[in-house]
């Protein structure tokens, strides 16, 4: 009886079921009311601590530091690609919020790809990878993109020979992975380890949550209220704490879904009706650096994003049930935008490594 409750009997079931479920139904209703009332919009309040990111889940492997140092070099090295001109950082540029600033990515030979480059900010906290979730861990995501014909198009056989013949890489691999060969597994592990260090958890919002009252303005706090209020922005229904994502998939009613040959997104992986046109919920820290927005890059600014949600999406075919027209005043929309801006830290220059 793993489910905790089970009942027998055809005729008595409706009555008994109602009786037995009554406490649970009451608790559901109570929790619903409670979820609003327990959130106090005061800096540092315990009810807000669910938004604090935990310690980054960087592996505790004995050689984690050596691995991420090696991974950083590999991440910026274009020689990993078939033509020697395309590094991970070509699309995941630290100066552009670890994305590329483009509507959709541009691959090898200047080929325009179908989807926007996702930012790598806080990718360490992700539970599923790629816009359609086809990769279940960061290592397989790394290898998938490196091997993709129109992306890095890596020839792994040649690449592993190159890395083995480069004395610096050979030494760094030996330090990072003692007793292991230079192979696809160690290559991906090193790059993934580096990517897990791309963390944003000290935004004005984080500092306000931690108790620094001056970290967010009154308008930004009001914008946060709009963000989590189910009858206002309803944003937190999908952008869950603590990393502003539910690691889930939603069709948000983009115009591109009405095209003659729409990108079906998650449906290609899980052929279930609701997955048609659904894409992964992106986390929002660093969002001020990662325009344009959405998987098709169709929103140029945060204002465009808010306008899209306010009108309840443009195309309602198979739209996610959480999507609905929002009743937001001009001031509330402005406050929401100001709050979203509080999810980004000022960019510092990022030192690019000298390649071996």
């Amino acid at each position: 009886m793993a489910s905790g409750i089970y009942l027998k009997g055809l005729f008595l079931q409706p009555f008994l079921l109602t009786l037995l479920l009554l406490p649970e139904l009451i608790s559901v209703l109570y929790a619903s009311e409670d979820s609003d009332s327990i959130t106090y919009f005061e800096p540092g309040h315990p009810s807000l601590q669910q938004w604090l990111l935990p310690v980054p889940p960087i592996t505790t492997a004995a050689n984690a530091v050596e691995q991420l140092q090696l991974g950083k070099l590999l991440f910026f090295d274009p020689r990993l690609s078939a033509n020697g001109n395309f590094a991970c950082s070509t699309c995941h540029n630290p100066s552009l919020g670890w994305s590329d600033g483009l509507k959709t990515a541009i691959g090898q030979q200047g080929i325009s790809l179908n989807r926007a480059t996702p930012s790598l900010i806080n990718v360490a906290y992700n539970k599923i990878f790629m816009w359609d979730g086809r990769q279940s861990n960061l290592e397989s995501q790394v290898l998938g993109v490196m091997g993709a014909e129109h992306e890095m198009n890596a020839d792994y056989e040649k690449l592993l020979i190159f890395l083995s013949q480069n004395s610096t890489y050979r030494r760094l691999f030996a330090k990072a992975f003692p007793g292991k060969h230079i192979n696809k597994e160690t290559l991906a592990a090193a790059i993934a380890q580096f990517e897990r260090t791309i963390i944003s958890k000290n935004t004005p919002f984080d500092r306000w949550i931690a108790g620094e009252s001056a970290a967010m303005s009154a308008d930004q706090v009001a914008g946060f209220q709009v963000f989590i209020n189910k009858t206002k922005g309803n944003c937190a229904s999908c952008h869950h704490p603590p990393n502003f994502t539910d690691d889930g998939f939603h069709n948000i009613g983009l115009k591109s879904f009405a095209s003659s040959n729409p990108d079906l997104g998650r449906y290609n992986i899980k052929p279930i009706k609701i997955s048609k046109g659904a894409f992964k919920t992106p986390p929002l820290r660093g969002i001020g650096l990662t325009a344009p927005y959405f998987h098709d890059g169709s929103a140029a600014t945060l204002t465009d994003v808010i306008d899209h949600y306010t009108q309840g999406g443009e195309v309602t075919t198979n739209i996610d049930p959480e999507m609905k027209k929002l009743s937001l005043s001009k001031i509330e929309k402005k406050q929401l935008k100001l709050f979203l801006e509080a999810l980004t830290t000022t960019t510092d220059s990022y030192p690019v490594p000298i390649l071996p």
Binding site: A2, I5, Y6, V28, G133, S237, E322
Partner: protein
């Protein structure tokens, strides 16, 4: 006669209780099913109750039983009745980390 009637009435009430299938309740809360694995009998019913303040979905692509019950909000449930033995992998299409296994026995 009264006692006899009362006995018959009682048996009529209890009889289906002994013969009919079980109903199992599986909660969906905090983006998790309340159990990872459930053992049931052919003919049993499984009800999936959404206790989260956002929509959940129920589907299975399993050979034993293929279904898509759609999406539903907090406080509602969807149910299946299992018709043959086997293993049914149940997932939520919105939240891919949610999955559980139903083992259906004869």
């Amino acid at each position: 006669m009264k006692v006899y009637k009362l006995a018959c009435f009682s048996i009529a009430l209890i009889y289906p209780l002994l013969l009919t299938a079980d109903v199992h309740i599986v909660d969906q809360k905090n983006k998790e099913f309340s159990t990872n694995e459930l053992r049931v009998k052919v003919g049993d019913e499984i009800r999936f109750t959404n206790q989260d303040p956002f929509f959940h979905n129920i589907f299975s692509l399993s050979d034993t039983m293929f279904f898509d019950l759609g999406s539903y909000p907090q406080g509602e449930f969807r149910s299946i009745k299992v018709k043959q033995p086997g293993v049914i992998e149940v997932e939520c299409a919105i939240h891919p980390s949610m999955n559980m296994k139903i083992i259906v026995e004869e």
